[in-house]
Amino acid sequence: MNPDNRGYYGRYGGRFVPETLIPAVEGIEKAYRELQADPAFHEEFSYYMQNYVGRESPLYYARRLSNELGGARIYLKREDLNHTGSHKINNTIGQALLARRMGKKRLIAETGAGQHGVATATAAAVLGMACTVYMGAKDVERQRLNVFRMKMLGAEVCEVKKGSETLKDATNEAFRDFIASFEYSHMCIGSVVGPHPYPMIVRDFQSIIGKELREQFQALEGRLPDIILACVGGGSNSMGVFYPFLEDEVDLIGIEAGGKSDLPGEHCITLSQGTDGVLHGAFSRLLQDEHGQILDTHSISAGLDYPGVGPEHASLRESKRVRYVSVNDEEALSAFLRLSQIEGIIPALESAHAVAYAMKIAPGLHPDTALVVNLSGRGDKDVEQVAQLLESGR
């Protein structure tokens, strides 16, 4: 579904930013519409996707995992094999090209796990732009490797020691920078969140995942998959893989981070347990208290540790087109280890949530059922954290 002219997907979306920023987001929308109609842009985008990112990403049949679980056949869409190690690069290359077209010299990004920060720093490097990445102090601590990577790529990393010191605070800080600098900077939002047109732009760039999957699966089995699973934090990899299938009879399931428990502050189950409200520029579902203050969240994976979610997901939940479930820290961790050992693929802790749900449902499904997990990123960045968790657990 495309949003209406005010940026709404059904009831959700819109543009809730200070008036100062309106000319900036209007400018982005106008430039993006022009780009969409320009074949030269699509060619350039494809060029980078193919020769720089390494697309298309493989669709891999996880034979050993499927056999061991019994039941559905499990396929992995290997976004972990992209340059920089996750799906985030699809969007940052697209937005950096857009920014360059608008004459912007600098990219600003918010990052949680650091994957989007790395992908933005990479896009800035290859397109010759300056880059500033905001990252919560808590995430800097648990994702140190990515901080080094960003710095090596030439980006400035600003540690945010405010509020909960995670992605939401990094996002606030990136917005503040953008409000003051939009004449020469572009805020490269990493998920399908934020004011219109960001949720649409990010979805469009990420939908290359779903489009490829469609063709790959058609070529393999001459039909569409039965079930597609993807983890949901802000919701960019899931939106990207779901979007091209929204009109089809394919079961789409988004997996949120269940964290430690269902108690407030201990999870990120935004769609299923959150309520309507406004955060970071859009009306969507969010985790808040009875007074409308945004709650702290928790997830084992920094990339899902966020109290909001993209407005299109909120709308897809309401229309029941997509089903949203959750997987907790422990289940994600055990899926992380199992996929590593059984298939030789170390998944990002974010993606491990989707793998965990596949492991839950696959045994109960008929072998004719084809289930695709969008493996949104690789887990190298998580190895240190997992090692610590395992040691402390012993």
Partner: protein, 263 residues
């Protein structure tokens, strides 16, 4: 309590610059905050803008942001701030404008919010993350939503703000978030205010970066009011170990700004 519209209009007619003070509700604590508010009025403050702490204040700069976080850590929220506004109305006759991000208002429910806020005498509402396109969410008879414009705003948007026939238009002085600034680009701001003026006869309030009487003097004639916020917040922080001296200091600041704006 004075009328927001009439007070600002009569100052505009006289050629005096009105002073609007922003202060975060119930901080550092309720009693000290009430003392500060009395002092602001003593100093000549014309309108009080009362802030509601929010966990994610993305339009605010460092100083005010610290107050938001301090407030939320102390458990302040919209309903407690409305209770506090009721206390303010008992000790002050300044017209009251509430500054609150949209989510707490949405969560309380618009009708309930309007009923409570208007019964307390709150006359105006500033919601920094609701731009002009979404302002219909804030329409009601009892409380007036105050439109904001910025130097980057197009003519169409200034026209849109003017069409509301507001008690005043909040004119953000520069690109960026709230905060104290050394130099404001004088000529640019004058031209910008002139542009807003070409669409509206309403009082124009210049905010963001205002802290010194010289600034008030410079813009007298193009701005009908100034909003001072971060400077007061910074002063409150500076006096945290000498709270008994704080009200006197705030009174002095406002008196200086007020006198600089007299015709």
């Amino acid at each position: 309590m004075g009328s927001l519209r009439d007070n600002l209009k009569s100052l505009q007619d006289k050629g005096d610059t009105a002073v609007i003070s922003f202060i975060m509700a119930a901080l550092p604590d309720e009693n000290l905050c009430l003392d500060c508010i009395r002092a602001l009025e003593q100093g000549g403050c014309d309108v009080l803008e009362l802030g509601v702490p929010f966990t994610d204040p993305l339009a605010d700069g460092e100083v005010i942001e610290r107050f938001h976080h301090r407030g939320t850590e102390q458990g302040l929220n919209l309903s407690k701030c409305l209770d506090f506004a009721g206390k303010v109305a008992k000790v002050s006759t300044m017209p009251l404008v509430l500054f609150c991000y949209y989510n707490p208002i949405y969560k309380m429910g618009w009708d309930k919010f309007v009923a409570e806020a208007s019964s307390l005498g709150i006359q105006g509402l500033i919601v920094p993350d609701v731009p002009l396109d979404e302002m219909e969410l804030l329409q009601c008879d009892a409380i007036e939503p105050i439109p904001m414009v910025a130097p980057s705003s197009s003519d169409e948007r200034m026209q849109k703000a003017a069409e509301q026939d507001p008690s005043f238009i909040y004119c953000v002085s520069v690109r960026g978030v709230t905060g104290v600034r050394g130099e404001l680009p004088e000529q640019e701001i004058r031209e910008y205010l002139g542009r807003v003026r070409s669409f509206s006869t309403a009082p124009l309030a210049l905010g963001f970066g205002i802290s010194r009487p010289e600034q008030v003097k410079i813009f007298r004639g193009s701005a009908n009011a100034v909003v001072v916020g971060s400077h007061l917040a910074r002063t409150i922080e500076e006096y945290s170990s000498r709270p008994h001296l704080l009200p006197g200091e705030l009174e002095k600041i406002i008196r200086g700004l007020k006198q600089a704006g007299l015709s």
